[in-house]
Amino acid sequence: MSDRVNDLAFYQDLADLMNAHPDQYETLGEVDFTLGVLMAAEGGNDLRLRLRFEDLGCADVSPLSEGGEASCDCWLEGDTDSWGEMFDDITTNGRATGRRTINSLTLVGDRIDVRGDDPMGVDKFFRFNQTIQQFFDGAAQLAPSSA
């Protein structure tokens, strides 16, 4: 799994999974949230993407330009190794566990942190946290061939 975390197509697969099963998100309620993901990789192959969540789905997965995070409600910032470990945990256990949930990782904040220009935007990360966690947990459901 961790070998795909730098691949935009991986996040599009997660988005497709979410969009194919709105019923699984219905009890969580609609979302209006734009999340940036900025993960630094050795060698400069950084992951920079924008996830746009609307209603019960992920409406857009797109690359994030330099400085483009300012257009997001907030963004996650860290390194691809930690990011990949989170997805490895998800695929191993079926969901993020222990201190590898997205809230836990950003609360400790030593390897992955949540940042934003506006505290109201950062607070959206908490308002929609269960939806975001479920979106990432979708990695456990992706077929091994696509993982």
Binding site: T101, L107, P119, M120, Q130
Partner: protein, 366 residues
Amino acid sequence: MALATDESVHELPEMTPMGNPLDWSWLRGTRAEWGMNPVPSRRGLTMMDIATGTYGEVLEEPPYRSMAPRGADIDEDTPDMGYILNHKSQVWADNVVELYEEAVARQWSSTRDIPWNELQELPSDIEHAMCQLCTVLTEIEMIATDLPAKWMWRMNHHFVEAKMFLATQIMDEARHADVFRKRALANGGGLLLSGSGDESLLRSILEAKTYTQASALLHLLGEGFILDVFRQGELIAPTHVEKKIFRLSMQDEARHVAYGTMHIRQAIAGDPDVADEIHEALDHGEQFLIEFGTSPVLSSALAILLGGGSEHIEDKGFPMQSLLATKIFTSYLARCERAGLNRIDRTDLPLELLGIDIDAFDRTGV
């Protein structure tokens, strides 16, 4: 916009067969707007969709103090309900309509949505600590039902969306009291110690002199703190069952904080002098919060949970508590700035001890 007039309706009786008078003015034409035809959004017909024309015009100072719905053709002699919060800035927040819809969409059930049968037997110290945390949370969550309820009936009904949002907050907090009470009992434990220090904080919030002071204490200070306690709860949750409890509760709490932050901003914009009374309330509230947050009962329970057991209180529990305290108060101070309150230069919080970088704040609000 056409008025509600239908000239074809005529020769209607003026009295009922029982001799009671009838009033057909609602049928023959009122001053209220008619034929709005709001267009539902993808998620359905929201309060934002129907906020069109005069129905969406929230006045700074509504002319009536009754329960008459905003946008209706209101009798001039409609009674005064005794509302004391009659200015928009006293209750409103620019995000309150969206937050109401969000709250309605994201309601959950502690009975149905928590996989209670997947709880696992825990080491005794961890189970005790979780039960103690749940005891504290069960106790303090109901303040956030009592406080809005204390003020809602004094709010002008013109600001109905703000009252509707606060009604969702009351339901949210009832659910939190419910879910933490259930968790305390569900895994072989029970409720533990209710410390007297907790009640001091709650009383200071409940006895605030104005709604805006109360909102600053509750939404900005108290719930901002509890939001971070819920984040910690998710971090330290022994199983995915507790993680889900804390995540869902966190979502609710973040909505309340979002309302409070923007309400305080609106209150100060409407009357800059209000900032002084908010500062005064927070001066006291922060001291109570420090006492509450460092209470021997709560901090010892959190230290065990953060350390992963009583054997790791000192090498893991306390250091983690210290790290998280920095985050909690940094978030709080950032929200104050967003609300238009410069607390950095006024607070008596031990910023240096808390490890807060005061140069990171621009002190101008966003």
